[in-house]
């Protein structure tokens, strides 16, 4: 939809201002209209008035505020404000005394709710530099107190059947969300202002003092308080999680507009929906919540603040970094001492070192440099001034044969290992194994004995190595045996099962719970146990 303003009465308008949107954004149009100053002045009067006003009363108020406008021009502006949904008019029935009065514009004007919000947004956010808002720690305290009180109120029991509605509960819920709104808005504002100040390096003394105050107050008190308070609130909320639905219902039940809320005519205030409570949990999260993010932003802003504070600290004319730099810039132009001044001021010259020590640890006396131990200089360096031979380096040696031999050995070892695995898996428990197979089995067995027990009701320890798994079961009275040609291993009170890695051994009929005590193992070799 197109719209345009025609020329006003008393103040000819030559420009055309198009408002093409048709939704609630029309309420903001007066802020950017060509005659925005006049619109804003009128809206300020309407927003400040507690009653509806006649155009003449508005014009009078404007004159008193220092913005004189003609009555007819005020009416024209009011019409446009009504078109943009920022103001509304209603007929003043008390002034209709004749029939002709019906046709006259006996209207009383007021700002619409949207218009009031837009005007407040303009006056508090857009019109002036946002003022640094104090972090309301009292709100945080009220949030924590309300949550902890709620956590104490809810009884232990089955949440679904618990009735938590009560006068105290509703009061705490109301106090909780009002305080939280207050705290959240303050934190958002403080965060933004903080970031802005930290990024500005052209601050004057006054602004830097403000920054210093911020640093001291926020870093030492607010962040710590927020962290502690949000952690306490989060703990209380975790206790209340099962009761979120019940608490939301309680908040709606206690509302005087419950019928309207149930019919959908009004939205419940905060706390009347489950999502409000979930959002509160996220807000108070010690790791990702608003308080934690605020602390993080504070930490990130600290280096910039430090730089500014250093400038504030050295605020006398010769001690600021800039003043010193200018003095040094002038001094460095000195042809004899300029370079020395630069090096002395900057203090970052690299050292100069001799290298390679002489063998002088056990000298009987202190020799002179020319009579003492020498430091070797490579012959080539002394003879030619070169560190090494010139030219391209030789090509790498051809090691194809060595690689092939190593690959063959690797394949051979893999084949032998596979054979050993097959032998172990095919052998029955306690039957003799070849030396290679027994070594593979022993390696896996040792890994299994070092594995932790499976808990108080489980009797197995299991581990795998190189494709073979071994599971030990705790079976009182049974002895597991691993037999090799030259040695044997006994495990008292154990049953031992070898199986392919990635599979699970079936449990013997009789087992008992295992503990984390070391597995007893007996080894015999050459007839000695």
């Amino acid at each position: 939809m197109g719209d345009s303003t025609g020329p006003g009465v008393g103040s000819p308008d030559t420009s055309r201002f198009e408002v093409t949107v048709t939704d609630s954004r029309r309420a903001t149009a007066y802020l950017i209209a060509p005659e925005a100053d006049e619109y804003i002045a009128i809206m300020a009067v309407l927003e400040a008035s507690i009653t509806d006003m006649m155009p003449a009363e508005i014009a009078q108020a404007l004159r008193e505020a220092g913005t004189p406008l003609d009555d007819r021009l005020v009416e024209t502006r009011l019409d446009k404000l009504r078109d943009w949904t920022a103001a509304s008019a209603r007929t003043d029935t008390s002034r209709i005394l004749r029939h002709a009065d019906l046709l006259a514009r006996n209207w009383r004007w007021t700002a619409t709710p949207a218009g009031r919000q837009v005007q407040r947004f303009y006056s508090t956010v857009l019109a002036d530099t946002p003022a640094m808002r104090e972090i309301p720690l009292s709100s945080l305290a009220r949030v924590v107190t309300a949550l902890e009180a709620l956590a104490a109120i809810v009884p232990a029991g089955i949440p679904e059947t618990t009735d938590v509605a009560g006068a105290d509960t509703v009061e705490h819920i109301g106090r909780l969300f009002i305080s939280h709104d207050d705290l959240d808005a303050a934190l958002v504002g403080a965060e933004d202002t903080l970031a802005t100040l930290a990024d500005r390096f052209d601050l004057g003394d006054e602004a830097t003092s403000e920054l210093k105050q911020l640093l001291v107050e926020y870093a030492t008190r607010v962040a710590a308080e927020l962290e502690t308070g949000s952690a306490r609130a989060h703990r209380a909320l975790l206790t209340l999680v099962p009761y979120f639905e019940a608490l939301a219902d309680a908040a709606i039940t206690a509302s005087e507009a419950r019928a309207l809320i149930d019919r959908g005519a009004l939205a419940a205030s905060r706390g009347g929906r489950r999502s409000d409570w979930d959002g509160l949990v996220a807000w108070c999260d010690p790791a990702t919540g608003r308080a934690a993010r605020f602390a993080l932003r504070l930490v990130r802003a600290l280096p910039g603040m430090h730089a500014n504070l250093r400038r504030l600290h050295a605020s006398s004319s010769t001690a600021t970094g800039r003043a010193r730099a200018l003095l040094l810039a002038r001094a460095c132009t000195d042809r004899t001492l300029g370079r020395a001044i630069f090096l002395a001021a900057v203090g970052d010259h690299p050292w100069r070192k001799l290298y390679d020590e002489a063998d002088d640890d056990d000298l009987p006396r202190i020799p002179s440099w020319r009579d003492g131990p020498t430091v070797t200089v490579p012959d080539l360096l002394r003879a030619t001034g070169r560190a090494g031979a010139r030219g391209r380096p030789p090509a790498a040696r051809d090691d194809t044969a060595a690689r092939a031999e190593i690959d063959a050995r690797r394949r051979e070892r893999a084949a032998a290992h596979l054979d050993a695995l097959r032998e172990v898996l095919a052998a029955s428990p306690g039957s003799p194994l070849s030396t290679a197979a027994a070594r593979v089995a022993l390696a896996t067995l040792m890994a299994a004995t070092r594995a932790p027990a499976g808990g108080p009701y489980r009797a197995r320890r299991s581990a795998h190595r190189d494709g073979l798994a071994c599971t030990l079961f705790h079976v009182p009275g049974q002895i597991a045996v691993l037999r090799a040609p030259a040695w044997r291993v006994w495990l008292p009170d154990r049953a031992m099962v070898f199986h392919p890695a990635g599979t699970r051994a079936s449990t013997p009929p009789v087992t008992s719970p295992d503990t984390d005590t070391p597995v007893i193992m007996r080894v015999s070799s050459g007839g000695v146990a």
Binding site: F201, H306, A329, L343, A345, R352, L354, Y355, D356
Partner: protein, 436 residues
């Protein structure tokens, strides 16, 4: 268990608790970090992350070592900066410092950058720096020399991570004042640029200001700084308190632990002392500072040969024990002779140095003077009735690289001559002979 035994066990446990756990790896890491910071006092995140992590792991030990020198270690979130005292030999370090104009624009850019936003165009920064120059009463010429000085100063700031080049090429500013270059200004690092300042006007009284900044009343701290920061110390240069420290505490409770902390070798000789970097403790010559020696190359080779020549033919003096002098003309003759001997170009010396022995002499002089191995005496060498001439006095420490046995040096030209014209006896240079 008897009471005495129980008491001994308790005492042993108490002692064990108080003893610091010793770790070779930890000490080596601390030493490497200390050496790195001594060579590069600015460590910036994104460029020196490994070293910064090592410093953070051993922060207390590193700080303690630098505190003995009176140096402050600044550890920020993305910066580690060592604030050193002024160089111990002012003239030697100043000889290799940037030009005065570059130094001046360095500070003007620092002054201008203070009020700049974190991201700024080069032209905007330079405009602010020129305004700062006007404020400081310095002339602004906008000629190419000034632009070169500005670019050099920006590079110095970029090396320190203070004003970093984000987009574009700073060098383009030399020919185009409006070169599209985006710079990042790190204000927190900017505040650490000026490490030492005295409450006086350095432009009104430069010498007095330097004296104030360089002043260090503690002799022991002066000695520690000299030994850690410089190549070597000559006894003849020390005052009474410093000489006393060198004789009593160099290998004792002060010098040796300090050298050990940095992983350096304490080299004590009759004429002086040095903290020397062991060969295995560095990987690249630049870790030794801007003047490593001995190194390959024409200047390094000529310097090494001159040290050897001084050991053979140098003149002794009673008032300078251990020092050997060579006349200026002899130095030029030797350099010219060696230039012809080794030849110019591939396999030999640099062509410009062979053609210009005087220029090569200047480079060798700068190298050895910077290393505290050479001093030029402008007084006359008229003892033998000859005309006035400068003398090159070689430090006794130049003898630490003397060849163990008689050696010969042959250049490519010599080798070619040897093939064509035997015998080559005139091309041999005897480098080692009984000292006089």
């Amino acid at each position: 268990m008897s009471e005495a035994q129980a008491g001994n066990d308790a005492a042993e446990q108490t002692e064990n608790r108080g003893r610091r756990a010793w770790s070779v790896e930890a000490d080596a890491e601390v030493s490497a970090a200390l050496r790195t910071l001594a060579a590069r006092p600015w460590l910036v995140a994104g460029r020196d992350d490994e070293t910064i992590a090592a410093v953070r792991r051993n922060l207390d030990t590193v700080r303690e070592a630098f505190a003995r020198l009176g140096w402050v270690l600044v550890v920020e979130r993305d910066l580690v900066r060592l604030r050193k005292s002024p160089p111990v030999r002012r003239d030697a370090w100043a000889a290799t410092a940037p030009a005065p104009a570059t130094c001046s624009w360095f500070f003007l850019l620092v002054a201008a950058a203070e009020a700049m936003p974190p991201r700024v165009g080069l032209a905007q920064l330079v405009t602010a720096a020129r305004a700062a120059a006007a404020e400081a009463g310095l002339p602004v010429t906008t000629d190419i020399a000034e632009r070169r000085a500005i670019v050099a100063a920006l590079r110095m700031l970029d090396e320190r991570g203070v004003i970093e080049q984000m987009d574009g090429v700073v060098d383009g500013f030399v020919h185009d004042e409006h070169a599209p270059v985006l710079l990042a200004v790190h204000h927190t690092r900017l505040s650490h640029v000026i490490a030492n300042f005295a409450d006086a006007d350095p432009s009104a009284d430069p010498a007095g200001w330097l004296a104030l900044v360089e002043r260090e009343p503690d002799a022991a701290r002066r000695m520690r700084r000299r030994l850690v920061d410089d190549t070597l110390v000559h006894v003849a240069d020390l005052d009474e308190a410093e000489a006393d420290w060198l004789s009593r505490r160099f290998r004792g409770d002060d010098g040796a632990p300090l050298a050990a902390a940095f992983g350096l070798h304490a080299e004590r000789r009759a004429e002086g002392a040095a903290f020397v970097v062991p060969a295995e403790a560095f990987r690249r010559p630049r870790e030794l500072g801007p003047l490593p020696f001995p190194t390959p190359g024409t200047t390094g080779h000529a310097a090494l040969l001159l040290c050897d020549a001084a050991a053979v033919d140098g003149t002794l003096a009673a008032d300078r024990p251990g020092w050997r002098a060579i006349r200026d003309s002899t130095v030029l003759a030797l350099l010219a002779s060696w230039g012809q001997q080794f030849g110019a170009g591939r396999g030999g010396w640099a062509g410009e140095d062979v053609d210009n022995p005087a220029g090569l002499a200047g480079k060798v002089r700068a190298l050895l003077t910077g290393l505290n191995l050479l001093r030029i005496d402008d007084t006359t060498a008229a003892d033998d009735g000859e005309s006035a001439e400068r003398l090159w006095w070689f430090s006794p420490a130049a003898g630490r690289w003397r060849p163990a046995t008689t050696a010969t040096t042959r250049g490519p030209a010599t080798r070619r001559a040897a093939r064509d014209q035997p015998p080559p006896s005139d091309a041999l240079l005897i480098l080692d002979s009984p000292e006089r």
